[in-house]
């Protein structure tokens, strides 16, 4: 039997993600400087031993801000994809299993959701509501519903035709039992692999909203997108490019790690089943 290995680069990606998750969880109690402290150093200081990533126009510590920025980015990303999986995945399984009118309605709803360019739909929702952490997470979660739903519907369709499902039905299992015990475990695996890929998209989406000033409101809410837009004025870029480029770098590595790890997991579980 062929042993599948995930490779060292996969574990590097996972290690980076774990580090980011750790920093995001414990940022307030880690020995970091206060990210909102104005004039921690002089304005626009280059990276040094005191401030590893330098300071921004207000003299705040860019390193500490970048680490704190992981909180909103990852929280929104994680919550959004969980929401998408729960609602989209659930609807997809129901539609794929029961077919008929339910299926058509759900598919039409997904189609309508996908008919809005994603960022425009996000703006439509955030435009009208108070931009709290919950609202932003939910908004991006709604964006995830249709793609995740279509995927879970498609794989439900495949498994619902299989013999073990037919066998369960013949044995007199109820719909609920078939869905929970027979279909769900099979559908969850391919979807779980996509959770990381989806989270990468969600993190970028939050960054985009933050970049436009439409993510979580409030001066003390730090996120990577907001830091990048704050540091990308022409004067900042000209004289102190590090203010924008360090958050860009950390965000890029995080998104890359999510994409890479997700892709590897997908390949790892993409078992070509033998046809008997």
């Amino acid at each position: 039997m062929l042993r599948r290995r995930l490779g060292i680069s996969f574990w590097l990606a996972i290690a980076w993600l774990a580090l980011m998750a750790f920093v995001a969880l414990f940022a307030p109690i880690l020995p970091l400087t206060d990210p909102t402290q104005v004039a921690f150093g002089g304005p626009r200081e280059s990276p040094s031993l005191d401030a590893w990533f330098g300071t921004d126009a207000l003299g705040r510590d860019v390193f500490s801000r970048t680490m704190h920025g992981a909180r909103i980015s990852l929280a929104v990303g994680g919550f959004a994809i969980a929401f998408g999986m729960l609602i989209g995945g659930g609807l997809g399984i129901l539609a794929g299993y029961f077919r008929g009118l339910l299926d058509q309605t759900v598919r039409f709803a997904f189609f309508v959701l996908l008919s809005f360019p994603a960022l425009v739909l996000a703006i439509l929702i955030t435009a009208t509501l108070e931009r709290s952490l919950l609202v932003v997470s939910l908004t991006i979660g709604i964006l995830a519903v249709a793609p995740v739903g279509l995927l879970s519907r498609a794989s439900t369709l495949v498994f619902a035709e299989r013999e073990f499902v037919a066998a369960a039905r013949v044995l007199g299992a109820r719909h609920g039992r078939i869905i929970m015990r027979e279909l769900l475990p099979n559908v969850v695996i391919p979807m779980g692999a996509l959770a990381l890929l989806g989270m990468a998209i969600a993190v970028v989406a939050e960054g985009s909203l933050a970049f436009l000033g439409l993510s979580v409101a409030g001066d003390d809410s730090i996120s990577w997108g907001k830091m990048i837009v704050d540091g990308s004025g022409l004067r900042d870029l000209q004289n102190a490019a590090h203010v924008a480029l360090f958050p860009v770098l950390v965000m890029f590595v995080t998104v890359l790690a999510l994409n890479f790890a997700g892709d590897r997991i997908r390949q790892h579980f993409d078992v070509k089943e033998l046809a008997f």
Binding site: V112, S115, F116, V120, I123, A127, S208, I228
Partner: protein, 331 residues
Amino acid sequence: MRFLARRLLLLVAVLLAVTFCGFSAMNLLGDPLTNVVGVLAELDCDAIAAGTAPDTTVDAASSDCDTVAAARAQYHLDRAVPMRYLLWLGDLAIGDFGTSFQNDQPVSAVLREKLPETLLLLVMAQIVSLGIAVPWGVIAAYKANRAFDRGSTVASFGLLSVPNFALGVILLYLLALRWQIFPSAYESGDFTSRLFSLILPALTLGLPLAASYQRLLRTDLITTLQEDYVHMARAKGLPPMRIMFRHALRPSMFSVVTVFGVSTGTLIGGSLIVERIFGIPGIGREIVTAVVRDDFPVVLAIVMVVAIAFVVLNFLVDLLYSWLDPRVRTS
């Protein structure tokens, strides 16, 4: 014909559903009245009319109430949401998008002014990405699994992981500020200087797209290159590049055509960001300003125009695809 009729029906249904969802989201999630009249929306006009209002002087309050009532009537806010939607749809059909809350300008005038800039940017982005992706994909497929191909796989994976606002900032920093090849902001002069200043934004939008096109094209080309007629052409002694471009490229474009429509949606989202970075006066910058100012008719109009254009474009791509590949029609 039946295929076309069914598709058209679906198009109309989706357009109605999309506009209705957008309209009710704007109307139900927020309070349009607050956006027109501000704090006056809080007034309890019934109580004032009945003379039971607690503290306000009756004169000032009742004139405020007139303002509120006028605004309600003007924007049909006294009707139920479905009725308001129908009225709005009727206005839309004759090209009336309403009036901006902020500066009494008709929204259609705003659109007419801003839309061409965004369209130009989108077209340029698609041209840039295809211009990069086709040669890139062809060389990668020609050198499949060799150093260049492996390198380009890594490069496209990396490009797809850069958020476009980050890419925009990096390109702005390198190409406009460091090496000063391109202008750092939009220049509204004659057409050529406009085009020139749009190159950097188009590159920001086009590069990640080129990476995804390249992946698709490479995969399809590798399959096509194993067809018998390609072997035949090779056996005839045709030069490799002629085989590539005359024989293999066209039948390998299906996947790229398929994602062309969808990718435009990504581009529209990206253009909101890029317009902000480079200060392009298009609808992307307009909608963000409108959101911040709670300018409800402008936000709604831009969302609708974009969504409708996106739906219609995908419909056309669908038709184009079924024309290219007749098997789609029967399934």
